[in-house]
Structures are given as C-alpha cells and as structure tokens.
C-alpha cells in the first residue's frame, strides 16, 4: 500500500519498515491544483492535498500540523475518510525535551496507525536496513547537489521521495554557461510546477540551490547524531539563551546520523535488555522511535520552526559556497510563513529577492514569466 506524506519531516524510514511504500505527495499522479478561490486566501497546495486524500481511496495520506491550512484541511477530510488519513504533529520548537518527546510520541502513534492499515512493527534489524538504504540514497543525492542541473536534480529527489531510490539522468553535469546562479527557496514545488525551473533557465538563470519543500532541504540539515544523551543543561536557568541552537549544522546527512543513533540504541538495548535484534519488543521500539525523533528534530530545516535560525544557517552555508546571486521566494497564496520571510531573507543575505506566487496553473503564467525574466535581466 502507498502511504503519501505531505512533509519531508515525516520519518519515511518508519513507514517503509512497517511494510508500506512511502510516497511524497508532491509527486503523485493525480496530485493537481484545482481552481480555488485564491482571493479567499486558500492555499492551493493544502487544498490539493485535501482533494488528493478524498479521491485517492487506495492509499493513506499523512497530513502534518506545520501550517494552518493543512491542519484545517485535515479537519475537513477527516470526517469522510478518517481511516485513511493521519495528522502528524510536527513540533515547531526544537530545542527542548518536550519537543523531542512530542515527536517521539507521534512516531509511536504513526506506527499504530500503520499497524491498523495492516503493517507490521519492524524489528531493529529491519529498521536499520531501511535506514541504511535511505541514508545511502540521501548521501548520494547530497553529493550531487552542487553539480547536478536543476531539473535533473528535482527529478532525482522526486524519485527518492517516491521509492527511496536514486537515479540521475544520464546528463548530469552543469553546463558551463554564464547563467546567473539563483536559489529557489520556499514551499512545495510539485511536479506540475517544474516548468519554473525551465523558465528560469530560459531566462538566463540556473537554480544552484533548490530549497523548496521537497528539494535539497528535504534531505536534512546534516547535524551530528545525538550521542545517546539529550543534554538540556542550562535550559531555562539563564545559563544559556533559549533561542541559541543546540547544535551547529555540520555535513553529516540525516540518515547517517539516524543510523548512528540507531546503532547506539541497538547495541545498548541488546546488551542491557537482552533483546533480540530480530524481534520488536516494546522497549526497543520505544528507543528506536526516540532516536528517530531526536535525529529528525535535529535535522529538520524549515520555515515553521521556532526559532527559525537553523533555516538561515543552512541557507547561509549553501548560498555562499554556490555563489548564489539572487533568491526566488516561491510561496502559495495564504502562506504567511514563507511570505513573512521575504524581507528577513533580503536583509540576512543582501541578495536581490523575487517573490513568486504559486499559481494553480501548471507551468507558470504569463505574469510569472514576465517577473522571472525581469528579475534575471536586472543581473545583466
């Protein structure tokens, strides 16, 4: 059975290890933007997820709580298709034990939901195998991030979010053109909107950093695996400002961190509790979900997080190393979370920024074309 997820921060390894196929909803057949009354402030993406959940009776859909409209979209569909939809509570904060526990509890609950759909609780060995496979795929994708052409990279990440595999098109080298390197930052860029990548290239630019929701950003921040001890020393005691990040982004991809964390869990549980790695006793499962939660929480890079400092740190490193000259901020109608970042992004990085509103039409509108062309013209 296919389990569609609406945010990259839903642990796909957990879904896969339960015997299902995790599928990024952005790339599903039939995931399309219906005409919506945009003047009413309705987000076309949230509406599309809602419609997809209603129509797609052979799979299940995981909504997330990270935005108003997805939360309420879930409310709307839960009445009619309750058994096939799940609302995953993504904590907005990330520096506290409470956030980690909330994440872990949600992973547990997701496991119960998956079991209700006929899935099986994975053994640690199964989970580690899945984590290793996804980790390898993420690593390969991240290695190609700075060299792969935008469209090919979007396709490769889409493939990863579809079946966990990595498959680069034959031609993956960046053309030595004088194209202006841009960062595409913002909300989801589903397959139907990939025309934007071509549009940017046709106008003389190239997307050197795809930081949309299912782009490179979805592969994780690359923070180190927790060492097994969740240190909160100093929190709330005045010794350390609460807004200070717990850890600085490093270069280790999410799944490597996850694998490392799970290894720690596995070894300690087998040793301390006498668990068999091929069984799924409750204590081991809890430790595994806690590790998943901790690692996902530490690797999440998104606009809804509070504070959102990790998003800026992640961007800063990549904008610099890829010599990005401008930012295209891709947002949906009604998406205050991204729209509000336009000015801070300008101020933080000192780069020209183009606000581009996602339309319901595939391939972009005349207005969109005109804006992109004018933006790139300004670099000449």
């Amino acid at each position: 059975m296919d389990i569609f997820y609406a945010s990259p921060w839903v642990p796909v390894e957990w879904i896969k290890a339960h015997g299902f196929e995790p599928r990024g909803v952005w790339f599903a057949d039939g995931f399309a933007f219906d005409p919506v009354p945009l003047s009413a402030g309705i987000c076309a993406f949230a509406q599309a997820v809602e419609r997809f959940a209603e129509r797609h009776s052979e799979g299940a859909v995981i909504f997330t709580t990270h935005c108003d409209q997805l939360r309420r979209g879930f409310d709307a569909v839960a009445r009619s298709v309750r058994a096939r939809v799940f609302l995953f509570n993504l904590p907005a904060t990330w520096q506290t034990r409470a956030a980690q526990q909330l994440y872990a509890a949600e992973i547990d609950r997701l496991g119960t939901f998956l079991a209700g759909l006929g899935g099986h609780a994975p053994t640690e060995a199964e989970l580690q195998q899945v984590v290793a496979s996804y980790g390898d795929a993420r690593r390969r994708l991240l290695e190609a991030a700075s060299t792969c052409p935008a469209r090919a990279y979007a396709e490769a990440i889409a493939r990863f979010h579809w079946d966990g595999s990595v498959c680069f098109p034959a031609q993956t080298a960046v053309c030595p053109t004088p194209a202006v390197p841009l960062a595409l930052v913002g909300g989801p860029l589903p397959r139907s909107q990939w025309g934007l990548l071509d549009l940017i290239e046709d106008a003389g630019g190239r997307v050197a950093l795809n930081a949309t929701e299912a782009g490179e950003r979805s592969l994780g921040a690359g923070v180190p695996a927790p060492s097994g001890v969740w240190s909160l020393e100093g929190f709330g005691s005045g010794e350390r400002p609460l807004s200070e990040p717990l850890s600085e982004p490093l270069s280790q991809p999410l799944s490597q961190a996850l694998l490392q964390a799970l290894s720690v869990v596995s070894v300690s549980h087998v040793r301390d509790k006498g668990c068999d790695k091929d069984e799924a006793p409750a204590g081991c499962a809890r430790a595994a979900t806690e590790s998943l939660a901790r690692t996902y929480l530490e690797n999440c890079v998104d606009v809804f997080q509070r504070p959102n400092t990790r998003l800026y740190a992640w961007l800063k490193e990549r904008l610099g190393s890829r010599q990005v000259r401008g930012i295209v901020l891709w947002h949906y109608v009604g998406c205050d979370l991204w729209r509000a970042e336009a000015q801070p992004l300008r101020e933080a990085f000192g780069l020209p920024l183009l606000l581009l509103e996602a339309g319901e039409t595939a391939g972009g509108s005349l207005r969109q074309t005109g804006r992109v062309e004018a933006f790139l013209e300004s670099f000449q």
Partner: protein, 459 residues
C-alpha cells in the same frame, strides 16, 4: 424600557451630569473624550456606548492600559509580554508579585481605535508585512516604534498549533533585537483507543501525553517568570493565582449568563466584547478587573430587576464567532436588529474555570490545551453548536479577520456544522480595522441574515 446608547458627544454632557451627581471614579477615570484628544483614539467618535458609569469605568480601564503599564514599570514592576496563548501565561505571571503580563497582540486594535492615524499598518508594510497579513502585524510596528505599549522585560510566545500569521510576525521580532522564548503548543487531538487521557475544560479530552508536553513547557516558562520575579513559582503560589484567575472567570460567566441568556439584553454587544477580553490578561491589572466586572454585573442585574434593557426583546439572537477588527461592527449588528446571545472570540478556554482540584500546573496545561484554536475546527464548531443551543441562537455570524491564515478554511467548516446540526442561517463577514468603506456591504449582508432569521420565527 430601553437604556440609551450614547455617542461620544452625548457622553460629554452625560459625564458632566454624573460628576455633578457625585460620580466616584478610580485613578484612571475621566471623560471618554480625553482618549480622543490626548491619545488619538479617533474611533470613539464613531462608536455608541452604554450610558452606565460601569461602562464608563470599563472603557477607561481598557483605554488606559498602556499608561498603567508604564506607571507600573516606573513603580518597579517587571513586564511580561505574553504572545498568542490568550489566557495561560498571564495566570502564571500574576501569581507572582511584581510581575504584570500583557498581550502585545492587543496592538491589533490600535489601527481601529486610532482610525489608522497611528501609521502602524503602514509601518508594518514597510517592514514587509502587507495587507495579506492579519492586522496583528501592527504589533511588529509597535515594537519597533516603542510608542504604544512599553517594551516587555520578558517576551514569551506559544508556537506550534497557532495562527501562522502570528507565528511569522512574532518570528520577525527576534532578528530585530527582541528575543522571544518559544514554548510548544501541540495540536490537540482526541485520544486514541486505550490511550491515557485527560479531561479538559469545555467538555474536551486530550491524550495525557499532550498534557504532559504542555505541562513541561509551562514549567520551563514558570522558571523564567520566577527568575524575573525573584521568587519561584511554586505550586502554592500558582494555585493561589489560579483561584484569583477563576474569580475573574466566575464573574465573567455570571455576566455572560445575565446578558446573553436574558430575553432582552441588559448590556450592549460592544461592552460585552470588551468585558470578555478582560479574561485573557486582566487588562494588566487583575484586582481592578474584578472591580470593573463586579460593577458591570451589578449594572446588568439591576437593569434586569428594573426591566430595563439595552437591546429590545424582539432583536434577533445572534451567536458571534471570532473577534472583530473594527469595534464598530458590534454597534452595527444592534442597529440592524440583532443582539449577541453567545460568542466565541477565539479564547473560550480563557472563560472556562481552571480546575482547582488538580495540581496547578497540570490544571493550567489542561486549560491551555482547551484553546479552541489549537484543536480541530470541528471540535470548535461542536462547542459553538452547544452554545448556540444554550443561548437560543437564531443566526450565526462568522467574522473573518482580514489576512488571518486560519480564517480561509475554518469559517466554511463551522458554518457547515452549524447548518447541519441546527439549521440556522449564517453569514461570513470580513471586517477590516476600519469598516466604514464597507458599510453598505456589511449592512446588506447583516440585514439579510437578520431578516432570514426573523422569517424563520413566523414560518
């Protein structure tokens, strides 16, 4: 017999008469006119007010909040800016001596009160927050200008299942030099089968794991408040604070019962809206809130005894959902033949009693989780339906807040449930901070609703 509603000009003469008659007022008292002259609260010229001294006290209390906060600071109090949770953090802060909590969010009414002469919305736009955001964007400009509320010593904000626009605006504060302490508010969900659960105020339930999450977060916030106050927020102190908050909530409950349940409303909708707002942070003075509400309740009960009303008995009973960005809208409803018989101004959890039989932090966590905005819209709609039944509602108004991210979807969901469960007519109205330009539209939509409800009486 109907009690009069007075214009600002009529209040000038009425005030002089009351003073001649020996009116006794608190330190913040005085004629309403001075808020226009001294503070630029121009909107008062368009409002109509209840004629009672109790209402005068209520308005003066509301409109002097910033001055009272500045005075409190000058006298050594520490100020806590609580953002978004609407009713939780202030209970903790007021439990401690020397702390005053207020909601910078309240700046969303400043453009209305000052008829946009404050320039806050324009300043917000210059900061990158245009009209596609909720009017609460005025808060960001107010922080930057520092001319409205005093800058708090500690700034707290709930995050998670909260309005996106508010969260996005609050996030803008940090790089501007206003550090924010964020605390997690999970999206409330029904407990799964067999999952340990807890009862919440408002006849709600939540899994114990969510209550524990909020409790832990509030404990962290409590430590910070204790540090600021120089005294720990222990269980005994918090329990006392909860009892005092419940005193306010009991008074409000009695007032709401007296006004909303009566055949003819003894107090107008506008004053009731302001009175309800006192619940969330006591308008920066808990003891005075008790006094203001006590006066209002006495006025309402006195009028009921004497058969005097503010709104005639044949007015259509309307349940109102969401607060209005322009206070004038509450006058307009009554002008066109409606009256309020119940409300959900987005903080029903601040009206419900905080359980006193539980450990205090647990009780507060459960109350915070009962926030109508953090749970399912369908649960919110269910409470609206129950309250409509209790208040004998004949129609429902869902007022949209311009640019508010939650409004895009919730209105339709709520109205659908109301229609299915009660068969009541309903309308969704978008009310901007100054609604004068939309009066013809608002008028025709509200009149149509009232007429439809009246027609149902005779059908």
């Amino acid at each position: 017999m109907t009690s009069r509603k007075l214009t600002l000009s009529e209040w000038d003469g009425h005030y002089a008469q009351l003073v001649r008659g020996g009116l006794r007022e608190p330190a913040y008292g005085g004629p309403l006119r001075r808020h226009v002259v001294l503070e630029g609260d121009l909107r008062l010229r368009q409002l109509r007010f209840d004629e009672s001294p109790a209402a005068l006290r209520l308005w003066n209390f509301l409109l002097t909040e910033n001055q009272r906060l500045r005075l409190a600071r000058a006298q050594g109090a520490k100020l806590v800016g609580a953002m978004k949770d609407l009713g939780t953090v202030p209970v903790m802060a007021y439990a401690l001596p020397g702390l005053r909590a207020f909601y910078p969010d309240g700046a969303w009414w400043t453009p209305c009160l000052m008829e946009c002469s404050d320039g806050l919305l324009q300043q917000a736009e210059a900061l990158g927050l245009d009209a596609s955001f909720c009017p609460v964007r005025a808060m960001l400009a107010a922080f930057v200008s520092g001319e409205h509320f005093p800058l708090p010593d500690l700034l707290l904000c709930s995050a998670g299942a909260v309005c996106d626009d508010f969260s996005a605006i609050a996030q803008r504060l940090e790089p501007m030099g206003f550090p924010v302490v964020w605390w997690e508010m999970p999206r409330r969900r029904p407990p799964e089968a067999g999952e340990p659960e807890a009862e919440l105020p408002g006849n709600l339930r939540a899994p114990q794991v969510q209550v524990a999450c909020v409790r832990e977060e509030l404990e962290r916030i409590g430590h910070l408040l204790g540090q600021l106050a120089g005294q720990p927020l222990d269980d005994e102190t918090l329990a006392r604070g909860i009892r005092q908050a419940n005193q306010v909530r009991r008074l409000l409950a009695a007032l709401r019962r007296a006004v909303y349940a009566s055949p003819s409303a003894p107090l107008p909708a506008l004053e009731m809206l302001v009175a309800e707002m006192l619940a969330i942070h006591f308008c920066s003075d808990r003891e005075e809130t008790v006094a203001v509400l006590t006066d209002l309740l006495a006025e309402a009960e006195g009028r009921l005894r004497e058969g005097r009303c503010a709104i005639p008995a044949d007015a259509v009973r309307v349940f109102w959902v969401n607060p209005v960005a322009d206070l004038r809208a509450m006058n307009l409803l009554e002008d066109w033949g409606g009256r309020i018989c119940g409300s959900d101004y987005m903080f029903t959890h601040a009206l419900d009693l905080i359980p006193e039989h539980l450990p205090p932090l647990e009780a507060l966590a459960r109350t915070a989780l009962a926030d109508p905005m953090v749970g399912s819209t369908l649960e919110r709609a269910a409470r609206i339906v129950a309250d409509c039944r209790a208040g004998g509602a004949e129609a429902v108004v869902v007022s949209r807040i311009p640019g508010a991210s939650h409004c895009a979807r919730e209105g339709a969901l709520i109205r659908e449930v109301v229609r299915r469960e009660l068969g009541l007519p309903s309308v969704e109205l978008e009310i901007p901070p100054v609604c004068d330009a939309l009066l013809p539209t608002l008028s025709s939509r509200l009149q149509a609703l009232i007429e439809t409800a009246r027609a149902k009486r005779t059908a």
